[in-house]
Structures are given as structure tokens and as C-alpha cells.
């Protein structure tokens, strides 16, 4: 069994606490995700999967329960420490790519390393290496608006990998792409998983995509209703 990266116990998330419209989104979720796993979290919209993703991505803190990321208790960290966690441990891949406009592909990939305080030369070398891995090295100096959707997503994946995070957290990464480019992105994830051993958490509503992964966790109404379990 590989080392546990994410350890969640009885995670509860409530909004508007103490107000008449108080809302409980996550009803005590517990799950473990291990190193080198390729996991998908599936659920209908409103199931709480986005909230769970925010929690995993250290963008949000749970109301109750404990979340250990590489053994660190996220629920007790302040904003500054959370930003450090996001920078070092999490690699976000968004549905809409979210590249910074007017900033070329190389600079976009450099960005997480800039916030990590890595020197410029080292940053450049690493960014070029990453663009090479995702097959975008020849487009390094292109602005986001000069790239196609699939190319943007590949740059975004390179950016997510910049600081060698513990988890690549992909939120509907093919949602804004046609099926062909979507396929290419999925192939890239498989390549990263197989060749680099990257731990990937894929958030999706598509059972088809989920079926490609090693393990499927299904969320409904803020509960885990099924988990295909760790592959032996």
C-alpha cells in the first residue's frame, strides 16, 4: 500500500452558519487517497463535489472533521499557510483553463514557481521542461489567445505540475473541449500517471471518463455513496 496523501475524516461543511438559511453541503465525508492513485470523484451538480474539490484543494476549510494532507491538518491553517499548501502540494487544472491573459505560455507555467520564490533561471528551465512534457515547447512564447482550447489545457496542466505537487486536482478538465481534444487531454493524464507517477484526482460528472480511472468515488447529497476502492 502506498503512502496516504489525503486523509479525510467526517468532513462536514456548512454555509450561513447560525442563519435561517443555514445549509449543510457535506455530511461527514471520510476518504483516503494514496500516492500514485488516479481517482475520479463523480457526482451530479449539487451533489457537493465542487465543495469537496475546494476542500481537497485547500481553498476552503471544513466546518467539522479533520483533513490531513500529507499528514498536515489543513483545518487549522491560516490564509498564508493555505496559500503555501496550494502552491506546493496542489496542482489545479480548471475546466476553463484559466491561463493568465496577456502572459505567454512560458510565463504562465513559471507563475507558481514565482510565488514559491524560485530563482528566474531555474524557473525558466523547469517551465521549458514541463512544456516539453505536455508537448507545448514550440508554443512557449504564445499568448493564451493564440492557443486552441486543447493547447491551453496542456499549458494549464504543465503549470499545475510546476512545483511537483502531491496531487493534480482536475475539475472537469475536458468539459470545455470537443471530444477529440478531450481525448488527448485524458491521454496526457494517463501519460503523467503512468510515466511520472503523478497522483491525480479527477472531478467529473461523466461516468465515461470516470471509467478510465483506477478508482471511482461517487458523491450524492454530500455523502460518498460508492467507492470502487483501492486497486490491489
Amino acid at each position: 500500500m502506498n503512502k496516504t496523501v489525503i486523509e479525510m475524516r467526517n468532513i462536514i461543511k456548512r454555509y450561513y452558519i447560525g442563519q435561517p438559511n443555514e445549509l449543510q453541503i457535506l455530511n461527514g465525508i471520510s476518504l483516503d487517497i494514496h500516492e500514485h492513485e488516479f481517482v475520479s470523484i463523480v457526482g451530479q451538480s449539487g451533489s457537493g463535489k465542487s465543495t469537496l474539490m475546494n476542500m481537497i484543494g485547500a481553498l476552503d476549510r471544513p466546518t467539522e472533521g479533520t483533513y490531513l494532507l500529507n499528514g498536515m491538518d489543513i483545518s487549522t491553517l491560516d490564509d498564508y499557510e493555505l496559500s503555501h499548501i496550494r502552491n506546493q502540494e496542489i496542482g489545479f487544472v480548471f475546466q476553463t483553463f484559466n491561463l493568465i491573459s496577456r502572459t505567454n505560455a512560458l510565463k504562465n507555467v513559471e507563475m507558481p514557481m514565482m510565488y514559491a520564490g524560485i530563482p528566474r533561471k531555474k524557473r525558466l528551465a523547469r517551465a521549458m521542461e514541463l512544456l516539453e512534457i505536455v508537448g507545448m515547447a514550440d508554443r512557449a512564447d504564445h499568448q493564451p489567445n493564440e492557443l486552441s482550447g486543447g493547447q491551453k489545457q496542456r499549458v494549464a496542466i504543465a503549470r499545475a505540475m510546476a512545483n511537483k505537487p502531491s496531487i493534480l486536482l482536475a475539475d472537469e478538465p475536458t468539459g470545455a473541449l470537443d471530444s477529440k481534444t478531450g481525448r488527448m487531454i485524458m491521454d496526457l493524464f494517463h501519460k503523467l500517471h503512468d510515466e511520472e507517477g503523478t497522483t491525480i484526482v479527477l472531478i467529473t460528472h461523466s461516468n465515461e471518463l470516470a471509467a478510465e480511472t483506477e478508482r471511482i468515488i461517487t458523491i450524492s447529497d454530500g455523502n460518498v455513496i460508492s467507492d470502487t476502492g483501492v486497486k490491489a
Partner: protein, 436 residues
């Protein structure tokens, strides 16, 4: 390192919205350029005044005026009758006593006109000269001697009958090639020996003499020792309401003025209806400078109000920019940007916006101020062409104002950029990411 990155980011962002950036800067540009223009003009006026006064000559003297006070009451409440006579005015004895009491502080450099006289030359032609008595030529930078020596205080003290004449006078009085030094001139006052020859200042040829006037018709000044003149005109114990008293400039002017005031108060102790008023060119110059400074600062402050308007414009556009870039802020935060990094990014952008505006404003202000200065200079020179030599017009921007403006621009950026930047820094990353 991140600062350089921020600078690059800010430049990209400003360049991406050129029109908007320029419009945003407009307030700063107008404010700064107005301040620089006004201070350029203020500084130029001051420099011109100082230089002009310095070129005129020695300004280190006090004007002392004897004044009669009416309607004063004594300790019983009765009106003091001011039945003064001429003898109550300033006397020469008083002035001599002053100089004897404070030889380190004061000296006399009295001068007076003793009227015009007709003279006859070697060809028996008649011409006129005006006789002026003086103690020295100190501070009279305009008069240049080409032969012999100047009359001085000793000549005056000894009441010598010596005279300084102009080159024109020599031409009028003596045959060509004659040596003027040692020649005697005879006037109604008596005989005087020429001891020195000077060149007439340009003002005579330019203004006093008419074009085409014959040399023999021109009246030249001749200088005799002051006390010689006073003796020959029987004015040795005269009274005057006015005297100029020179001082040595190494002493504090205010202290000297108080010394003078005390001295004359003592002199007039027996005559309560008499007092002196003391004025001084340096004090005037100081007062004029103060007035110009106050006016410059006052107008600058009014102009600087537009800086506040400009700053509010910057704040407004920064708020718009941050709203537009909410998603970008969310992404940056998701990628691990600390709140401080986001805050710095937008503060740097605001500072840069203000600084660029400030620099454009400074350049426009200098150009505008200098242009106005040169126009004013041309107007003055054209209207008062005959006095042109008296003016030393200096046009110069105010260096402190420029430095303060640069500082103020940066400060405006920090002040009006901080609030929007802080708003950006405090955004919740989840909401920011979800923003469309």
C-alpha cells in the same frame, strides 16, 4: 525579485489599456504639471529679483527716516505736543556718533547732489556738469575707472578739493591728448584737481542723452568728496529727515536693525514725539521672497487638489481593474499566491500609473513653465527695452518642487492604490474563481 515581476506585470496591464491608463493619469498629469509650472515661474521671479538686485550694487544699508508722531499721550493721558523743529531731524553729529559707537557694524557712505555748474573749456566754450558729492564708490559696480584713483573717505574727511570726471568731460574740457590728471577745474564752489577719470555707465548714453545730441551739450556727472561739498556749501551742520547707513554684511541684519533702533531711541529719548523708521533692501528682498513663496505654495496647494481628484480617479480605475480581473486573482490564489503578493501586484500597478502620470506632468510643467517664462521675458524686454541691461532674467524650474512631485506621485499611488489592492488581496479564492 517579485518586485521586478510585479513591475513587468503592471507595465503589461497599463499598456494593455493605453487609452484608459492615459485618461486615468490625466488628473495626476494636470495636477503635477500645474504645480511644476507655478513653481517654475515662482522660482524664476525670485532668481530674477535676486540677480537683478545683486547686479545693481551694494544693498547692505539701512534707510533711516526721522518721523514725527502726532496724538501721542503721556503717562497722565495728556497729548504730547509735537512742536518739532528742523533741529529734531537726523543730524550729521548723530550719524557720526553712531559710527563712532559701532565702528564694527556701521559706516557712512553719504552722497548728495550739489547742483549743476557751467564751465568753460580750453576753446572758451561753455558746457555743463552736475556736481555730486560722495564718500566712496563702494558697491557702485557700474562705474569703471580708467585713469588715476577714486575719491574716498579720507578725501571726504580731510575735505580735499579733488574731483573724478568722466572721459566725456575730459573730451569737453581739455584739448585732445592732454593729460587730465592734475588739471584743475574751476566751479562756483571752488577749484578742484582731477585725480581720476571714469567711463560713463551705459545708462547715460542709452537713456539720458538724446540721439544726435552734440558732445558739448551733454551734461556729465563729476564726483567730489561729500564733506568737501558740504563744507563749500555751508551745510556742515545740516538736518535731514533721511539718511542711509551702511553695515558690514557679516553681521545679522536683524541684530543690526535692533542696534540702530536702540541707538536712535536713545538719541530721541528727550523728544518722545520723534521716532525713526528703518528699512532695508535685504529685508525687502526677504519679504518679497516670502510673499512669492507663500503665493507659490498657496497656488500649488490649490493645484495639488487636482492630484486628489487624480488619485480618486486612479483608485476608481484600480477598483474596476480588480473587478475585471477577479478571475485572474482567483487563479493566482489557487496557484499559491499569498495575499501579500496580490496586494503588492496592484499597489505597484497604482504607483506606476501615478509615477508615469507624474513624470509626464513634470515634463509638461517644465516645458510649460519655461515657455511662459520666455514669453514673459520677451514681453518685459520689449516693453522696457531701455532698461534691459538692468534686468538679469533667469528662468529655472524648481528642483525641490520636482523632487516633491515625484515623491507625491508615488505617495498618491500608495494611498489610493492600497484600498483596491487590499480588496483584491482579501478576495475569497473560491468566489473569485467562480466569478464571470
Amino acid at each position: 525579485m517579485q518586485f521586478i515581476e510585479n513591475l513587468r506585470l503592471a507595465l503589461t496591464s497599463i499598456a494593455a489599456n493605453k487609452m484608459r491608463s492615459v485618461l486615468t493619469m490625466l488628473g495626476i498629469i494636470i495636477g503635477i504639471s500645474a504645480v511644476i509650472m507655478i513653481t517654475t515661474i515662482g522660482t524664476s521671479i525670485q532668481k530674477t529679483l535676486v540677480n537683478t538686485f545683486n547686479s545693481i550694487g551694494n544693498m547692505n544699508y539701512f534707510d533711516v527716516y526721522a518721523q514725527v508722531s502726532y496724538g501721542l499721550l503721556d503717562e497722565n493721558g495728556d497729548e504730547i505736543i509735537a512742536d518739532y523743529t528742523d533741529e529734531d531731524l537726523l543730524t550729521r553729529q548723530m550719524l557720526d556718533k553712531l559710527v563712532d559707537t559701532y565702528p564694527d557694524y556701521f559706516y557712512l557712505n553719504l552722497s548728495d547732489s550739489f547742483g549743476g555748474f557751467e564751465l568753460k573749456n580750453w576753446k572758451d566754450q561753455t558746457f555743463k556738469a552736475s556736481v555730486i558729492g560722495r564718500m566712496s564708490f563702494e558697491g557702485d559696480n557700474d562705474i569703471k575707472f580708467i585713469r588715476g584713483r577714486r575719491i574716498n573717505k579720507t578725501d571726504s574727511d580731510l575735505k580735499k578739493q579733488v574731483v573724478n570726471v568722466s572721459t566725456l568731460f575730459v573730451k569737453q574740457y581739455l584739448p585732445p591728448d592732454a593729460d587730465p590728471i592734475g588739471q584743475t577745474i574751476t566751479t562756483e564752489l571752488g577749484d578742484f584737481v582731477i585725480v581720476g577719470v571714469f567711463e560713463l555707465p551705459a545708462i547715460y548714453t542709452k537713456q539720458i542723452y538724446k540721439p544726435g545730441q552734440k558732445d558739448i551739450e551733454k551734461v556729465t556727472p563729476v564726483y567730489i568728496p561729500y564733506d568737501t561739498g558740504m563744507k563749500l556749501t555751508y551745510q556742515e551742520s545740516s538736518y535731514d529727515y533721511y539718511a542711509s547707513i551702511y553695515y558690514y554684511p557679516e553681521y545679522d541684519v536683524e541684530m543690526l536693525e535692533n542696534t540702530l533702533r536702540d541707538f536712535f531711541a536713545e538719541e530721541y529719548a528727550e523728544k518722545p514725539y520723534m521716532h525713526v523708521e528703518i528699512e532695508n533692501m535685504q529685508t525687502y528682498l526677504g519679504m518679497i521672497n516670502t510673499v512669492i513663496n507663500v503665493v507659490t505654495i498657496a497656488i500649488s496647494i490649490i493645484a495639488a487638489i487636482s492630484l486628489i481628484v487624480g488619485g480618486v480617479g486612479v483608485m476608481n480605475i484600480m477598483l474596476v481593474s480588480i473587478t475585471e480581473r477577479t478571475k485572474e486573482i482567483g487563479v493566482r490564489k489557487a496557484l499559491g499566491a499569498q495575499n501579500s503578493a496580490i496586494r503588492m501586484q496592484f499597489v505597484v500597478e497604482a504607483i506606476l500609473l501615478c509615477l508615469i502620470g507624474g513624470i509626464i506632468g513634470i515634463i509638461l510643467g517644465i516645458v510649460g513653465g519655461m515657455a511662459l517664462g520666455f514669453i514673459a521675458k520677451q514681453l518685459v524686454m520689449n516693453f522696457y527695452a531701455e532698461y534691459a541691461e538692468l534686468f538679469t532674467i533667469t528662468i529655472q524650474p524648481s528642483i525641490p518642487a520636482i523632487l516633491i512631485s515625484v515623491g507625491f506621485s508615488i505617495l498618491t499611488g500608495v494611498f489610493f492604490g492600497y484600498y483596491p489592492a487590499n480588496k483584491a488581496a482579501k478576495m475569497n479564492p473560491i468566489d473569485a474563481l467562480r466569478y464571470d
